[in-house]
Structure formats: structure tokens, C-alpha cells
């Protein structure tokens, strides 16, 4: 047995889970190899120390505090509320009543119109978009987000948030590159966000995009897992774009992340990485799920 083979089996050796013949071979190797013997001692010591740890239990007082927070959060349960409302709206009886109500409302509107003239043109902007100023192109779609996605206090007024889409567009490398060349949200990120913003806002913007994506029928959890995978080696990246579409005929999540330039000449997020990931392959093995990758830099 050589050192490499011995070291590979040291944990199992320490746990006593090797077959006796392999244990004997390790014993023989350790007797003649001081380097591996020292490693075996450290593995043995850490094993003993970890085994001595008692389970950690949450106290009842702490549990009560957390339970109270869960109850406080309960009224805004996104999925339950939307699922229940959606189910209710789908019932035939509901649809019949809704039709009747709609007819009455139309009739009332016509009558009111006769007496008051046509209403002035208005634009409905949600309270959130008024507060955060996110109603322009390249901004998030406030109408598709429910209140619990807003994370008050995190978004700053007038700044861009991730653009989220679900489409049937079938991209290839060239068309995707062209689309990102002109992407407005990329330019807005470069102009408005720095490295510090990426650190501070990354989690919030990932959540925000995931929730919005979920509301559009995408898999928000899958998107979060992909972002976590992509950013595990380079965490200073801020989600700016997400589209569920096709890439050369395959189902794909197109994920745009804004990042500082590699040269370190600017702290602005003037670089964008575009990851095209296959959701089907990601579940089996993330390493084989990357269909395409683009890196673009915004000229200063």
C-alpha cells in the first residue's frame, strides 16, 4: 500500500468501517511511514473530539420566539395565498359569478361615462414601484411581485433591479450575445452599482428575482440553486437578468450576473457574466448543466 491509498482510507480506518484485511494493510503502512502515521493521529483526534460533542437543542424560550415570528409572517404566506386564490378563481361557479359582476361593472361604467365624459388616462403603479421607482424598462415588474417579496428598506429609490422574463425565444450564441450587447439593465447596473452594493444586495436580489420568476411559472428554487452554484467561487456578483427560454432548442435558464472588472481598474459592476444553464441537467449534475457562457464588459 502506498501513501495515497493509505490516506484515502484513513477516515474509514479511524471509524472502524474497513474490512479487517484493509485495516491490517493500513496498520503495516503506518508502522513504516511517519508522515501518514502523523495524519492518522490527527484524524483520530478530530474523530474523538467530534464524537464527544453532545447534541445541541433549541430551548423552549427560543422556540417560542421563533414560533411567534412564524405566526407574524403567516398572513403573507405567498404560495398558500396565491394557490388558494387561484384555485378559488378557477371554480366554475366563481367564473359564472365573475362574469355577471363584470357585466354589471361594464354597464355601470357606460352609464357613468355618459354623465361624466370619458375618464382621464391613468397609469396604475403599485405602491412598491412608487417607493422604489422600478417602473422603467429593464426594471422589475412590480405587478408580478407580492408584498412579501419587497424586503422594505433594501432597494434604493430609482435604482434598477433584476429583469425577469419567461419567453419562448430560441437563442443561439450569436443572438444571445446581441441581445446582451443592447440590454438596458446591464448598462444601468454598470452606472449605478459598485462592488459593495453587490455584497450588500446579492441575497436580496436573488430572492427578489426568484420570487418574481416563481410568480411567472419558473422554478425560483432552481434559479437560486444555480446562482449559488455559479457564485460559490466568485461571490461578488449581483443578479441582473433571468430569462426562462430555449437555447438551440433546449430548455434553458439564462442568468445574467453583474460583476466588477477583473483588472480591478474600477469597482463599478461593469462586467456581466451570462450563464445559460439547463434545468434538467442541473438536478443530475450541475457541472454538466452549463450550455453556454458569455462575458461582456461595458465600455467606460
Amino acid at each position: 500500500m502506498n501513501c495515497r491509498q493509505a490516506r484515502k482510507a484513513l477516515i474509514e480506518y479511524n471509524d472502524g468501517s474497513l474490512v479487517p484485511e484493509d485495516s491490517v494493510r493500513i496498520d503495516e503502512h503506518l508502522a513504516s511511514c511517519p508522515g501518514c502515521a502523523a495524519m492518522a493521529e490527527q484524524i483520530n483526534l478530530s474523530g474523538a473530539a467530534l464524537s464527544s460533542l453532545q447534541p445541541v437543542l433549541m430551548s423552549d424560550a427560543a422556540a417560542s420566539r421563533v414560533r411567534a415570528s412564524i405566526r407574524a409572517e403567516a398572513p403573507s404566506m405567498r404560495t398558500g395565498r396565491s394557490a388558494a386564490v387561484f384555485g378559488f378563481l378557477q371554480r366554475p361557479a366563481t367564473l359564472a359569478v365573475a362574469g355577471a359582476v363584470a357585466a354589471i361593472l361594464v354597464a355601470v361604467a357606460v352609464v357613468v361615462g355618459v354623465y361624466t365624459g370619458p375618464p382621464e388616462e391613468t397609469t396604475t403603479v403599485s405602491e412598491y414601484s412608487k417607493e422604489a421607482g422600478t417602473s422603467g424598462p429593464g426594471m422589475s415588474n412590480p405587478a408580478s411581485m407580492s408584498e412579501d417579496a419587497l424586503a422594505p428598506g433594501m432597494a434604493r429609490v430609482g435604482l434598477p433591479t433584476p429583469e425577469v422574463k419567461v419567453s419562448n425565444t430560441d437563442y443561439n450564441g450569436e443572438s444571445l450575445r446581441a441581445m446582451f450587447e443592447d440590454l438596458d439593465v446591464k448598462k444601468q447596473y454598470s452606472a449605478n452599482y459598485s462592488m459593495g452594493d453587490a455584497v450588500q444586495l446579492r441575497g436580496n436580489y436573488t430572492d427578489r428575482a426568484a420570487l418574481e420568476f416563481q410568480a411567472m411559472g419558473g422554478d425560483g428554487g432552481m434559479y437560486e440553486a444555480m446562482v449559488s452554484y455559479i457564485t460559490s467561487s466568485e461571490p461578488v456578483m449581483l443578479p441582473c437578468y433571468l430569462e426562462k427560454a430555449l437555447f438551440t432548442g433546449q430548455s434553458a435558464y439564462i442568468i445574467g450576473l453583474a460583476a466588477p472588472s477583473r483588472s480591478g481598474d474600477s469597482k463599478n459592476l461593469n462586467r456581466v457574466e451570462v450563464w445559460v444553464m439547463s434545468p434538467e441537467k442541473f438536478t443530475a449534475n450541475p457541472n454538466t448543466s452549463i450550455l453556454y457562457f458569455i462575458e461582456q464588459r461595458e465600455t467606460q
Binding site: R7, L10, I11, D15, G16, S17, M39, E41, Q42, I43, L45, S46, G47, A48, A49, L50, S51, S52, L53, Q54, P55, V56, L57, M58, S59, D60, A61, A62, A63, R65, V66, R67, S69, I70, R71, E73, A74, M77, R78, T79, G80, R81, S82, A83, A84, D148, V199, G203, L211, Q214, D219, G220, G221, M222, E224, A225, Y229, S232, P235, T283
Partner: protein, 217 residues
Amino acid sequence: MCIQIGRIYDVAVIIRAMDKGEDEGRAGQDDELVARARTGDAAAVEELFDRYRHQVFSLAYRMTGNPADAEDLTQDVFVQVMRKIGSFQGRSSFSTWLYRVTMNRSRDFLRRKKRSPEMLSTDGEPGDYLMEDRVGTVQRAPEDNAIASEAQRLVQEALQQLPVSLRAPLVLHELEGFEYHEIARMLVLPVGTVKSRIFRARLKLGEILEPHKEQWS
């Protein structure tokens, strides 16, 4: 559930393995609760909290080393569960998904804390957050308890000295009892990387604890 005795497991480890919720009966009950939670039933989330609070808290505590932070993270995790239960598609068991959410939130928390040293942890008496003992643990004389407590403090401090990339797989494998392939899915890493990180973590932990090795002799 079958527990293979390949090493000397103490009572606590066996209880922990049973607590993981991987036996079929428990998983079936989880499925029912998850289905109710998806329809907006907040009581179902509370039941899930009662079933898993110790596991989530324990993992958060082992990752952060601070009981107040662990409580905050536990709260954060279950709020996330309420918000995102719709995205849980049942490809893995609920308990595995919950551990993944806990691990992701813990890692995010530690990254934020590293970059923002002003983000102080709440101080408090450990007894405010931790339950001291449970049925099945060995009764000890007071002086033995003091030694055990010192040893546990040393191990917890040593865990905090490991980089998060090594601490996470080590805690999941050695303290929470997950298999390599389960950790690989949870942390989105190849199985070989998980094994090698656990090996490096064990070596590093042994190196850190070397000056106190008489505690475990």
C-alpha cells in the same frame, strides 16, 4: 430505519440519526404537512417547525458558533420555508431541502458577517437559547461535566476556525450524519470534492486541537 453500527455510536448520535426524519413514516407525515403548507396553512408550517427546530438550530449553531445567531437563522429559515414552499418540488425529501436552505442561509450569513465586521452577534446567556440535556444522555458527576463542557467548547471553537468550505461538509457528515452523496447534492459539489474536504477538515481540526489532546485521551 436501519442504523449500521460500524463504529461505537453513543446514544446521542443514534438519537440524532433517528431525528433526521428519513424514515418512511416520518417522511410521509412531512409530505402531508408540506402539502398543507403549500395551500397556505400556517399551522402546518408550525408543525414542521416543531418537528425540525432542533435539527435546524443545531446545524446553524455548529456553523456560526453563536446560539443567538443560530436562533436568528432558524427564524430566517422557517420564514423562507413559508415563502418558498411552493418552489419545493419534492425531488428530495423535505428534510434534505430544509437542511439545504439552512446551510445556504448560514453560509450567506457568515459571508455577510465576514465582510461587515460591524454586524455584531447578539450576546446572551447560552441558557436563553440552548437546552442543556436530553433523555438518553449519560449522567455524569459534576466535575466530569465540567471537563466535558470544556472539551465541547474547545471543539466548537476549533470548528469556527475552519474555513466555511471545510466546516460545512464536516458538520453535515460528522455531526448531522449525512452521507457523502447527500452532502454533494446539498452543497452542489462533486462527491469526490466532498470527501476530500471532509478529510482536510478532519486533519485541520486535529491540528488545531493537538495542544489539548489530553481532553480526549
